[in-house]
């Protein structure tokens, strides 16, 4: 959910003018925001599953330290979505285990 109004930060300035694709589903995003933000705004919480136990993981540290939020972005696996900004037409996939390079 986006915070459209805020008592200190005021109204939300960015507009969700671009579209990205997540596992085939199209969602809107604000140019410049991080991939993880667009996903959470769209209600998506599970970003990947782990390689040993297949457990779901999502946004955890928010500053590119923990690697829990990694997804396959434009066929490149293990992209840290919390510090990678969205771009128009970006194709994002839930990553299973270590992911696969799909060239």
């Amino acid at each position: 959910m986006r915070i459209k109004v805020h008592p200190v930060l005021g109204p939300l300035k960015g507009k969700a003018t671009i579209e990205i694709e997540v596992d085939g589903r199209r969602i809107s995003a604000i140019p410049g925001e991080m991939i993880s933000s667009a996903l959470i705004a769209a209600g998506i919480k599970v970003f990947r599953t782990t390689h040993k136990k297949g457990e779901p993981r999502g946004y955890f540290c928010g500053i590119g330290q923990c690697t829990d939020c990694m997804m396959t972005v434009d066929n490149i696996p293990s992209v840290r979505t919390c510090i990678t900004p969205v771009s128009k037409g970006m194709k994002i996939k839930t990553q299973y285990g270590h992911g696969k390079w799909e060239v």
């Binding site: 782990t50 955890f60 540290c61 330290q65 690697t67």
Partner: protein, 102 residues
């Protein structure tokens, strides 16, 4: 607390508290040994999340304070980056022949 053995400590390598205690029981003496035998702290985040937790478990188990033990080592690169990026910088460093590394 229940589920203690099953508690995941290293999120990246999915190492449990039970596994850490097990290698210590089998003879792992230093933190470095615990790390290498369990792989706790050797995954994607390189211990950024679990380093302190592993150390706490280790300290508790050997009955020592953090100041009395030897921490695990850091090695470059200390930030995650593609090997391709790393290689692009090698050209520009004059390696000192006497330099013994970190």
């Amino acid at each position: 607390m229940i589920d203690d053995e099953e508690l995941v400590i290293c999120r990246c390598e999915e190492v449990t508290k039970g596994e850490i205690l097990e290698v210590m029981e089998k003879g792992a003496e230093t933190l470095n040994e615990v790390k290498r035998l369990t792989r706790a702290g050797m995954g994607l985040c390189q211990g950024r999340v679990c380093r302190r937790l592993v150390m706490q478990i280790y300290c508790q188990n050997v009955g020592k304070k953090p100041e009395e033990i030897k921490p695990t080592k850091y090695r470059p690169p200390v930030r995650p980056l593609p090997i391709e990026t790393l290689a692009s910088g090698v050209k520009s460093i004059e390696l000192d022949p006497d330099y013994e590394g970190i």
